[in-house]
């Protein structure tokens, strides 16, 4: 029966064209990163010289290191705050100010970056002149800005897992005398761990990629990788950026394979969970 409602030809063709549209530009980008020619559009044989030049570019490497540190710190900060926010949304019934809280959790997902960037910069400048902190803008101010918009995405990922989680497991633990904190650390946390991993990775990539917000809140001494990429793209094409893009796509693909594997395992765990519950009933 469901076979007759399966994938019609039209849907198959749109899937095929859709994936071609999504992936063809990246394939071209990767191919040209191995181009020997200085001119990006002319193929002059296979070469890895741009990878060498990329690693010798000190400004680029310094910015990459800065961005990686920032993304690591951002992902860690937003996983903590984002999980707390998800717990509030899914486990705390009603409290005063929940309406405002809900708005502040969902709005960062869609807020145009120029508005977020400008408003945070004005806050930092205002705080700086009122309390003397932050005295200068740099790593810390970018970190605060990134955690603020990344935690909203973590909240979406974690809260959807928390909602699916069978509450009777948590209730059983508490019936057996576990405290709320104990229940969280021994029952809830291990079950939502895969969602935490994907939330962490999502926040990491969002932070690594942000140009606009960081440009507003960064100080003169803090240059992130997207800022360097942006200014060199503005100048014109450069084969080094192709090499950088290829390495990034490679890293992301590896991460995605890992995430896919984790989600498959998570699904299997979920199925076992459901089975155990069914047998009990």
């Amino acid at each position: 029966m469901s076979q007759s409602l399966g994938t019609p030809l039209f849907t198959r063709i749109s899937l095929l064209l859709g994936f071609f549209f999504l992936y063809a530009p990246m394939v071209v980008l990767i191919a040209y990163s191995f181009n020997a020619s200085e001119r990006v559009n002319i193929w002059a044989g296979f070469s890895t010289r741009w990878y060498g030049e990329l690693f010798r570019d000190e400004a680029m490497m310094a910015a990459l290191w800065m961005s990686l540190k920032l993304a690591f710190a951002t992902a860690t900060g937003s996983i903590i705050l984002g999980t707390l926010a998800a717990l509030v949304l899914t486990r705390v019934r009603n409290f005063r100010g929940k309406l405002l809280f809900g708005g502040m959790v969902t709005a960062p997902l869609v807020m145009p970056e120029v508005i977020t960037g400008l408003s945070l910069l004005l806050l930092f400048v205002g705080m700086g002149s009122a309390f003397g902190w932050p005295a200068e803008r740099g790593f810390l101010t970018i970190w605060i800005a990134h955690v603020t918009f990344c935690m909203a995405f973590v909240t979406v990922v974690v809260s959807s897992r928390l909602r699916e989680l069978d509450k009777s497991l948590e209730e059983a633990a508490m019936d057996l005398g576990a405290s709320r904190l104990g229940t969280f650390f021994y029952i809830t946390l291990p079950i939502i761990a895969p969602a935490l991993v994907s939330g962490w990775l999502l926040a990491f990539t969002l932070s690594l990629d942000d140009l606009v917000i960081a440009s507003f809140v960064a100080g003169p001494s803090s240059t992130t990788l997207p800022m360097i990429v942006f200014s060199s793209v503005r100048m014109g094409l450069s084969p080094q950026i192709n090499a950088l893009a290829t390495l990034l796509i490679l890293a992301v693909s590896l991460g995605a394979v890992l995430a896919y594997w984790l989600s498959l395992r998570d699904e299997r765990t979920r199925r076992v969970e459901m089975q155990v519950l069914h047998e009990k009933r």
Binding site: S2, L5, G6, T7, T11, L15, F19, L22, M26, V28, N41, L81, L84, T90, R91, V92, R93, G97, L100, F101, G102, G103, M104, V105, T106, A107, L109, V110, P112, E113, V114, I115, L118, S119, L122, S129, A145, V147, R163, K167, E171, M174, R180, T183, L202, D209, L211, S215, P226, V229, V233, L237, I241, L244, A245, L248, I249, A259, Y260, L264
Partner: protein, 304 residues
């Protein structure tokens, strides 16, 4: 709920305050308060000082002087550039959202109808490009769309055109860039909605003689409306304020408000006008943001 069983929701007052307080205070300080400051500074005047705007109030000799100036807003009204930029941003955002929907709906539907590991694999393939850098994906299109880029070379060698057509630095390039970058954001919520669609409804409709078009119009589309709205808002709202795409792919005639705000802030260093531009943009986007919130919050909150 059976008697004598503790429930897991934190109902008791005073127990949950720490869990609530940390994210609440963070968002209040770093998300809500900054907007108030933007509005405040949009009412100040530009000045050659550090920071470059006048104080809104002064407290000298026990006299509080308030200086509120609407000059920045009047300035936005006086120069048609701003009005045109808002209008053109809304037009570009609406058009590209519609294109994303036309391309994304069949993809989301196709993936949602699939079974097993193939489904999660395809879903991951949709999301994967958005995990790589946004900037680099736009950069890829700069290379493709140039006068001597691949698209023009293919068209030339096929004899479709005699000389390269200008693609880069046009509105067409901006549309391509937006659709390319934002498509996954539309597909994801739509997929999450469509995957919940009960197959039995479609089977019942088939048994009652409905064809594929009738099934789609009367069952699938109305039931997926929530996902359509969420996906469209997830594209439309950020695109209205988009800066990077019109900057790198658009031409000098591509007018978008995000670019105007960036220019006022970084090039003219006029913080009060930039704040006024941001405030008006927020007001324009208020209804779309509320629409998005209504759907997203229902998805995230406890549903029982």
């Amino acid at each position: 709920m059976s008697v004598g069983r503790r429930t897991f929701g934190w109902r008791a007052p005073g127990k949950h305050w720490l869990v609530v307080a940390a994210p609440y205070l963070w968002l209040l300080l770093f998300f809500a308060v900054p907007f108030a400051i933007v509005v405040k500074i949009s009412l100040a005047e530009s000045a050659i000082a550090q920071p470059p705007y006048t104080a809104l109030y002064e407290y000298v000799n026990n006299v509080l002087t308030l200086r509120v100036s609407l000059a920045n807003y009047l300035f936005l009204l006086s120069d048609s550039l701003y009005f045109d930029a808002y209008l053109s941003s809304l037009r570009i955002a609406a058009t590209s959202t519609a294109i994303c929907l036309l391309i994304g709906y069949p993809i989301a539907y196709g993936i949602a109808r699939m079974q097993g590991p193939k489904q999660s694999l395809l879903l991951m393939l949709v999301v994967l490009p958005s995990w790589t850098s946004f900037l680099i994906r736009i950069y890829a299109w700069v290379g493709l769309l140039r006068n001597n880029g691949i698209i023009n070379n293919v068209l030339l060698s096929l004899g479709v055109v005699d000389e390269p057509i200008r693609l880069l630095n046009t509105d067409v390039a901006v549309y391509i860039g937006i659709v390319y970058c934002y498509l996954p954001f539309l597909i994801l919520p739509l997929y999450a909605n469509l995957v919940k669609l009960d197959n039995r409804l479609l089977e019942a409709a088939t048994d009652l003689g409905a064809g594929p078009v009738a099934r789609f119009l009367h069952i699938t589309l109305p039931l997926s409306l929530g996902g359509v709205i969420a996906g469209c808002m997830l594209v439309f709202i950020p695109v209205v304020g988009e800066f990077v795409i019109p900057e790198l792919l658009g031409g000098s005639e591509t007018l978008m408000i995000g670019k105007v705000l960036w220019g006022e802030f970084f090039n003219n260093r006029d913080w009060p006008v930039a704040s006024a531009v941001a405030t008006v943009m927020l007001i324009v986007l208020l209804i779309p943001i509320m629409l998005f919130h209504r759907y997203q919050f229902r998805e995230m909150e406890a549903n029982d």
